[in-house]
Assembly symmetry: C2
Homo-oligomer: 419 residues x 2
């Protein structure tokens, strides 16, 4: 890892390489052209911040977006997909305390009410304003309450408001999920900043969370879309807390262009900016896993083999197995559960010759147990981050999933969530 002092603290996971040309900034420092803030609409009760507003003052701002593909899409996701210019977004209103999902047409009307209130307050076209929600599913959003809260908010937005914004979009999150980088590109220096939330209902099939990314670099909407698509697949698409796809996943990238540095397609700038964005999103994705409800340890499973579908199925099966997760929590080197998950993911393929290595220690070869140093393995699985490698027959395909453990606190948090 080539990270300097600042990068080391910004990039906490051993599985993210901090690019040498990036310097971490205080996370509340937004790139030029952006302002934001957090407000209390009373959705969470009391003075808790529960509405975040982010706006870009550059009329030429371009954007890109990704959403989950659940069959039960929340109203804000439906609204973004049907009534927003996703390549030209200028603002976002995101609330916590209510997911506004499974709320039908009334939910859509409430989301629209929020979108239009924000557009009026910010002097924008409603199509330029994205909405996002997170919280309990199945309760109609009190849109009027948010609209009231938004009145007069525009003048309170500032370039240093990212922390309040980030706080306002949290639910059960415990860890801070903000990052800001200064990225030195051949054509000049740009900033890259993101605020993210997510701790439960996190599945490795697109992220189950909200993430808002801002940069002052200039780029076309096509470049923004390409870069976001590739980096989301390598970050939020590869994590699991509980294998449960959410109804509300939203990732938005907005580029103000304020720096004057232009990211041209297929340039060195694009490559290096993409790598910085990749590191940023992977670090945030790993913070979601580390903050997985009740989590104590984080696991990474790397699967190699000949068939992409099989490699992916095994990685997700291991990452989602409550047995593997409980063993990770207990610091238990029970690799038989990895074998079980492999078999469960590939029915009808027995006898399957697979290898398993944990923290570099081979424990199973050709589908059968082998001798290993039990004391060394016992010690290795006590680490905060544990790596599992699985080799299936064939070569050419490789994937990974990051996952949290399954703890008493996950049960506690999810047994008592609404009551």
């Amino acid at each position: 890892m080539s990270a300097g002092q600042l990068n080391s603290s910004a990039f906490q996971s051993r599985w993210v390489l901090a690019p040498s040309y990036c310097v971490a900034l205080a996370p509340a420092e937004l790139p030029a052209g952006f302002r934001c803030g957090g407000f209390a609409a009373g959705l969470k009760g009391g003075d808790a911040l529960d509405v975040g507003v982010l706006v870009c003052d550059e009329p030429g701002c371009v954007s890109a977006a990704r959403f989950c593909d659940s069959g039960v899409l929340a109203a804000p996701v439906v609204l973004c997909q049907s009534e927003c210019d996703l390549a030209g977004l200028r603002a976002v209103v995101a609330n916590s305390g209510n997911a506004n999902a499974a709320t039908g047409e009334p939910g859509l009307a409430q989301a629209r009410l929020v979108q239009h209130a924000a557009a009026a307050e910010l002097g924008l076209d409603p199509r330029q304003v994205a909405v996002a929600s997170t919280g309990v599913i199945g309760i109609l959003l009190a849109g009027e309450q948010i609209a009231t809260c938004l009145a007069g908010s525009a003048k309170e937005l500032g370039p240093g408001g990212a922390s309040d914004f980030a706080t306002a979009i949290r639910t059960t999150d415990m860890l801070d999920k903000q990052l800001a980088l200064s990225v030195e590109l051949p054509s000049g220096t740009v900033r890259l900043c993101a605020q993210c939330k997510g701790a439960g209902m996190i599945s490795p099939r697109f992220a189950t969370m909200l993430c808002f990314v801002q940069t002052d670099a200039a780029m076309s909407a096509a470049t923004a879309d390409l870069l976001l698509g590739v980096t989301v697949k390598r970050s939020f698409d590869r994590i699991s807390v509980d294998g449960q796809l959410s109804t509300n996943d939203t990732v938005l990238l907005m580029a103000s262009g304020s720096s004057g540095v232009v990211i041209e397609p297929e340039s060195a700038d694009e490559l290096l900016f993409g790598e910085a964005l990749d590191a940023l999103l992977r670090e945030l994705a790993l913070r979601i896993v580390a903050d997985g409800e009740g989590a104590k340890r984080v696991g990474r499973v790397v699967v190699r083999g000949g068939e992409p579908v099989a490699v992916d199925a095994v990685a997700r099966a291991v990452a989602n197995s409550p047995l593997v997760k409980a063993a990770l929590f207990g610091g238990d080197a029970n690799w038989g559960r990895i074998a079980q998950a492999i078999g469960g993911a590939l029915p009808g393929t027995a006898p399957l010759p697979f290898d398993i290595t944990i923290e570099g220690i081979p424990v199973c070869a050709g589908g059968a147990a082998i001798d290993f140093d039990e004391a060394a393995l016992s010690q290795a699985v006590q680490r905060d981050q544990v790596e599992y490698e699985v080799r299936l027959p064939g070569t050419g395909s490789e994937t990974e999933c990051f996952f949290s453990d399954l703890s008493y606190d996950y049960v506690k948090i999810n047994a008592e969530y609404t009551t």
Copy 2:
């Protein structure tokens, strides 16, 4: 329910109808023609029973078997499939304390060693002896230890040994999973008896457990296979503790014919015997769920709609969701998690008009929240057994899954299993 006094105590689940022509017997009373016992080979340490032996003394005994379809099949399953006459089994040796899975050729050799030792002790051909194992995955079975224990065991087997046999095959099981019925058929009265184990690594894709069923009815191997196939699909194939397919699932039906009552194909006897077998296996399957590691409550999800694949995917997604399970444990009426699981099971189908009813109380219609009596619902989800109904678009398909909750004790049991 038409059950009498004895049936009421034998059939504990509200979701199993006890046939009126069946009377429950003491579960240790084996049907005529069978003897069994439980022994201590030291696999579990100390004097704990860990090897069960069951034998049928009728040379004309017929049998049928079902196994899981994991890509990682345990050695005893591979041995049964490749080196047994599954339609003419006369004996079973089943051990707990070690699954003999992911043990490769050496594991197969150990399983064969046990099979041959039992055959010699019982005076049978090895192909007539099935083996089954349950316990930790990835450790070679000490076959010699079991063979030593089997020496002289034949004379200790008896018609009243079912309780010892049932004890010997348990791992983390807490609830008793034995049942014996007297079944009054048009052609005469037969007995039906079963011993079952299973509490963790239980997935709704064939049972993740062992179950041994004996009857003194006479039938062809084809009839035995037909009846077992149909009833396994309605019982062990529809339950989930943790959605984790095992490597060792085995269900064996053995018919001694000792009663002289013949079950002819497509007869009233076959229909009624099949219904009794169905009730027996469903009751045992539900005991596995009730005994799901750390479980406090049992849920049933019934899904109706037009597409069998979608109906099945939704039922399994709800049954396997740790969020739904944690809410069940907490007595939390958080139906939004049912909506989330539905959406996650059917990506790309939004907007999906679905209905959700919990304990007869409609909470969601056409994909959107509706008003309901919150106090009544809160009370309903405190019951020991909670029923969820989901309606998807279309008609003609229906399925169900039974599932346990997710409790602190599930985590405790599985964080500390091997260490």
